[in-house]
């Protein structure tokens, strides 16, 4: 499918992608695949015992911390649903806040620039993952190919 770049405008929103409840079980599977021994991703007691929790503006409680790659994957899923599974050409992401198990988070994005590179039609986008109460948890930029 070829999507004419003229169909899109700077400021357009990417259809959001929602993770209704971040799963502690999926964090455990992810920890095994990543071979990441950090218990903060699979042991709620370890999170509750964190010495830094009092410095955070909210209670972590007994909730495991989502791996960074999992949080950013929700944003990638949003882009895949928008432009297909081969559309992401560049992805830059920062991690201002943690994502916790049972969080409801929504991936969002907007087009910031449209350009052509060879025969490819590209959209540069601001992308982020947000939580209704805690605001932006992950934030970054992506370049998406509009016609794959």
């Amino acid at each position: 499918m070829t999507v004419p770049v003229e169909s899109y405008q700077v400021g357009d929103c990417i259809p959001p992608w929602e993770m209704k409840s971040v799963s502690a079980e999926k964090m455990r599977t992810m920890a095994a695949i990543l071979r990441d021994p950090n218990p903060l991703h699979w042991d709620r007691d370890a999170v509750a015992a964190l010495p830094v929790v009092d410095t955070l503006p909210f209670k972590l409680g007994r909730r495991t911390i989502n791996q960074g790659p999992l949080g950013l994957s929700y944003i990638i899923n949003m882009m895949h649903d928008w432009m297909g599974p081969e559309c992401v050409k560049r992805f830059y992401i920062t991690f201002p806040q943690v994502v916790l198990d049972e969080d409801c988070v929504v991936a969002r994005g907007t087009i910031t620039a449209l350009r052509k590179e060879g025969n490819r039609q590209l959209a540069d986008c601001d992308v982020w993952l947000e939580h209704a109460e805690r605001g932006v948890l992950l934030q970054g930029r992506a370049t998406v190919q509009l016609s794959v």
Binding site: M30, I33, L34, R35, D36, V52, L70, S73, F91, I93
Partner: protein, 149 residues
């Protein structure tokens, strides 16, 4: 108070190269990984880009633990990811043997806005597909906090 490593030991990490190696994303691995993201499996053996965190590390024959040791991390909790930057030149696929190399391209002692010292390391990994074309370049900046967390 923990002892902060000498700055010259940190800056000397620039140019450090990991052993390198090959990595093939298996179907089971991609299936489970994609499931963890909440997405359905992608078509035609396309691997979910979320693999671009661990595949470069393990393909280059290093690990999260090795990287933390190199930066003389005080603990697993003391290292904060600052950013990931992934450049995808070819679609990532299952069952393709990628040649992976990795190195440290920047290492600096810095201070945050609260006056706290940390060491900033920038890791870069290249994944080359059969035939020699660069498929993916990933960069990962990590903050090694000192007496902060």
């Amino acid at each position: 108070m923990k002892t902060i490593p000498p700055e010259e030991e940190i800056t000397a990490l620039v140019g450090h190269e990991f052993p390198g190696g090959d990595y093939t994303i298996e179907h089971w691995e991609n299936f489970l990984l994609t499931g963890c993201t909440g997405a359905d499996p992608l078509p035609d053996g396309i691997a979910h880009p979320v693999a671009l965190f661990h595949v470069p590390l393990y393909g280059a024959n290093t690990s999260i633990g090795d990287m933390f040791k190199l930066g003389q991390a005080e603990s697993d909790l003391s290292v904060i990811p600052e950013y990931y930057d992934w450049e995808i030149f070819s679609t990532l696929r299952e069952a393709v043997k990628y040649r992976v190399t990795g190195k440290i391209i920047a290492a600096e002692r810095r201070e945050n806005s609260h006056g706290q010292t940390y060491d900033w390391l920038l890791f870069q990994f290249d994944m080359v597909e059969p035939g020699g074309k660069l498929a993916v370049r990933t960069s990962m900046a990590q903050q090694f906090t000192r007496n902060t967390l």
